[in-house]
């Protein structure tokens, strides 16, 4: 582990992508992901990489598809309205079984919305970022160090499972600085990209990168194969942090920036003698269902803390099979939940301070 540096989350993500071997970036300007593009436009040329500002989000994601098809590590970043534009290309990337990393530094919506931090793209990220039956792996860092570590992980997972991986960040994580360091690498052995379209050189049969299957039985088979892969991912890739969970009776579930706010509230609640803990999903897809299910036994109630009108709450309800009440503490539109609000909600659902 190298020395600690202070970096904005967005810059750390950009640097981590380069450290992970990404040499191709295609993007389009949008707040609050700007630092990612700015950083890469400065540093990519120094290592012979490609930074290209596309004419639109739509073009950028299709450039990503092209570069991914050629077998290189490639990334694009945007913020909520731009991600909507990318959804077409993301669906094609999934349908072509290509690895790519897409970053969403979320802002408030819908429409042009605002530019302040938000988590209102949870449904979009985890349910269907594009048309058709498919998933993408969704990673949700909560610290700048995790931004770095998960960026490495994102490229690995994309290559390993040949699918798009979404880094779901937000304006707070993107803009904040805290100490972090860059690992050497992950040391994972990854499969050869023998499917890439780099020219046959007259030595092999041609490769085709395609998502079109006009015979319904063939398309069904392709989709089902993909879902078998998704099932394997659900078994092996669920990730979460358990915070003060040992004797927790009230379980906060929060990810990303709102998990940081929730931590303050939990520490305060513990100081008042309340048995509160947190499960912080690190993978939003696959959702850490196992951890929630396990906690369902000990929990009197769950509380999700979200910067949206309550989206992840559905996944918590599904995971605990509605066996325990699931409450919501939220702000939206770019407003940030305060620790005091979370604490008040915890007191409310637990029937007052113990």
């Amino acid at each position: 582990m190298a020395d600690k540096v202070l970096m904005k989350g967005n810059e750390a993500l950009a640097e981590a992508a380069m450290c992970a071997g990404c040499r191709h970036f295609f993007g389009y300007p949008i707040t609050p992901q700007t630092e990612i593009s700015a950083y890469l436009s400065k540093h990519m040329p120094k290592v012979g990489g490609t930074f290209l500002q596309a004419e639109s989000e739509v073009a950028a994601i299709n450039m990503v598809l092209g570069a991914a098809a050629a077998g290189v590590r490639v990334m694009t970043s945007s913020s909520s309205p731009g991600i909507s534009l990318k959804s077409e290309g993301i669906s094609y990337i999934a349908g072509c079984d290509l690895p790519a990393v897409i970053v969403n530094v979320q802002r408030g919506g819908p429409g042009l919305g605002g530019i302040q931090p938000s988590q209102a793209d949870y449904y979009q990220a985890t349910r269907g970022l594009g048309h058709g039956d498919f998933h993408m792996i969704v990673l949700a860092p909560s610290t700048v160090q995790e931004v770095i570590d998960l960026t490495f992980e994102a490229f690995d997972l994309a290559d390993l499972y040949r699918m798009p991986v979404l880094m779901l960040s937000d304006g707070i994580l993107g803009q904040m600085m805290e100490p972090a360091s860059f690992p050497e690498g992950t040391g994972r052995t990854l499969p050869e990209k023998d499917w890439a379209v780099t020219g046959t050189q007259g030595k092999r049969k041609k490769n085709i990168v395609n998502s079109l299957y006009l015979q319904p039985d063939e398309l069904e088979r392709k989709v089902m194969e993909r879902y078998e892969r998704y099932d394997a991912i659900k078994k092996t890739e669920q990730k979460c942090e358990r915070f003060m969970m040992d004797d927790a009776e009230y379980v906060v579930v929060a990810y990303g920036a709102s998990a940081r706010v929730a931590k303050n509230a939990i520490v305060a609640a513990r100081a008042e003698g309340m048995k509160v803990g947190m499960i912080r999903p690190i993978t939003l897809w696959p959702f850490p269902v196992d951890a929630i299910r396990e906690a369902t036994e000990q929990a009197k109630a769950f509380l999700t803390v979200e910067l949206s009108m309550g989206q992840m709450i559905d996944d918590v309800r599904l995971a605990c099979e509605c066996k325990k009440p699931v409450h919501l503490c939220n702000r939206t539109g770019g407003m940030i939940v305060k620790p005091q609000e979370v604490l008040a909600k915890l007191k409310e659902i637990s029937g007052g301070a113990k």
Binding site: V58, N62, L65, A68, G71, V74, E88, K206
Partner: protein, 250 residues
């Protein structure tokens, strides 16, 4: 016995799905002949569009991808930037290139992206059943202009080569036609030059090929060729619109 006619090696030994009398087959063959003659097949990645030639990935022997509607130039940009040694071409129809993909086309061109576009213009949407294309002629009847294209309502057709030739990134833009054998021979020369320029790293090259759609025009293949001659060529004059190689020679 000597072979006087053979399938180009760059063309896959399969039958195409194109309608009888459609000129896609000829254009595929011309591209394949050029890949053979320049010995490029092993280095080439082709990008198929959405439209009648959506399954072009089955017809060429080089590596192929299939793009979203209109996005072929963006995908080609990614392919080429990731692997600059490869030869990248897109094969696109008029709806794909000049309507939904206008931005991708114009910007790939103005960036001087070192790729080749084969642009097949037959003034109609074929695959979806004969709707108005951006290149549909004034007063031309289509499924969505049943009274003829009224330019006051539907606007004017786009002249792609003329438009792109104004851009500095374009190395070569020529409009050719499939209506006669001499024109087909000229088309092959143009396609060859476009690929040659890409090999030399000259920049963006496009060959616009005026083509027919007997099925959706409601004409026999022969009459369709006549319609192309009488109606399309006057509106879309053939010729070289930009050639930086020729400019240098001047």
């Amino acid at each position: 016995m000597s072979v006087v006619f053979d399938r180009p090696k760059a063309l896959s030994p399969v039958s195409t799905h194109y309608c009888p009398g459609c000129t896609h087959g000829i254009i595929h063959r011309l591209v394949a002949e050029v890949l053979d003659e320049l010995d490029l097949t092993g280095r080439t990645v082709g990008v198929a569009p959405v439209g009648c030639s959506v399954m072009a990935y089955n017809y060429f022997e080089c590596d192929m991808t299939e793009a979203a509607h209109g996005r072929a130039p963006a995908q080609a940009t990614g392919l080429k930037r990731a692997n600059p040694d490869s030869i990248v071409f897109t094969y696109q129809g008029d709806g794909d290139l000049a309507a939904i993909g206008t931005a991708e086309t114009v910007h790939a061109a103005t960036r001087g992206e070192n790729i080749t576009i084969i642009f097949v213009n037959n003034a109609i949407y074929g695959m979806t059943g004969g709707q108005m294309a951006p290149t549909t002629l004034p007063n031309q009847v289509t499924q969505t202009t049943p009274y003829g294209r009224d330019v006051k309502v539907a606007g004017h057709p786009v002249r792609v080569c003329e438009m792109l030739s104004t851009l500095d990134g374009v190395a070569y833009a020529e409009r050719v036609s499939m209506d006669t054998v001499p024109h087909i021979n000229a088309a092959k020369k143009a396609i060859k030059k476009a690929f040659q320029y890409q090999v030399e790293g000259k920049g963006f090259t496009i060959v616009e090929v005026l083509s027919t759609c007997p099925t959706n025009w409601g004409l026999s293949p022969v009459k369709a060729l006549g319609w192309l001659q009488e109606n399309m060529i006057p509106h879309y004059p053939l010729g070289v619109y930009k050639d930086i190689g020729a400019e240098v020679q001047k």
